[in-house]
Subunit: 108 residues, 2 copies
DNA sequence: ACTTACAGTAAGTATTAGCTTACAGTCTCC
DNA sequence: GGAGACTGTAAGCTAATACTTACTGTAAGT
């Protein structure tokens, strides 16, 4: 639904690796499961979490279900990060300036 | 130690709010705890996780311990996101081109 | 030195979450 | 329409985790 679930979704190592695999191209559930040490249902559950977080989309091809990365989910995370990246830099800058005005009250 | 822990750290709602609060300026543990519905030790534990993830740093001022955002942690997350943002766009583009070559094999 | 304030740690608990196996459902091919 | 392939869901178990209270430790003020 938003970046909130996205962070939690990518917090799990296995789930993040599944996502990274999908970032290189769409794949079916079975194909992904073959490359991981967990069972196929586990992969299916991970994909559900990623889907709910807006990070992937699925499309049915016969009985196969192909998953691919949803760029919009990544975009929301980037927006959040940029927002607090700016805030952090501003806070850091303001802090430095405050320190300078304290150590050099009159400019010397 | 890297972006890996950072995603998990920001996955928890309370911990993410603590981080967001710090992004607006450095604060002590007690000051943060006053603004949250959880106990002070809980905030302290959250700050430890954020610190281990490289998202915040701490500095002692007397008995008070002031926490502030560590931009390098955010930077690593941004790098990871940008990397897979590019990969996702490339995969998406390659997919579109493949679709076009299938629907229009001879170029019309 | 004693008291007070501030913060980290330990121990314990309850909820969450990731994993498994078993089952149900859908599409294709014969 | 029956068999096989592919996937989602349910139920259950175990491990992780977020929270609490109690305590330990350190620095400042009197």
């Amino acid at each position: 639904m938003s970046y909130r679930n996205a962070f939690a979704a990518l917090g799990d190592p296995t789930r993040r690796k599944v996502f990274e695999r999908l970032a290189h191209g769409p794949r079916s559930v079975g194909e992904i499961a073959k490359d991981f040490p967990v069972s196929r249902p586990a992969v299916s559950q991970h994909l559900k979490v990623l889907k709910d977080a807006g990070l992937v989309t699925d499309q049915a091809h016969g009985t196969r279900r192909v998953y691919r990365v949803d760029p919009s989910g990544l975009g929301q995370m980037r927006a959040w990060l940029d927002q607090f990246w700016e805030a952090a830099l501003l806070a850091f800058q303001a802090e430095v300036e405050r320190d300078e005005s304290e150590t050099e009250p009159g400019g010397d």
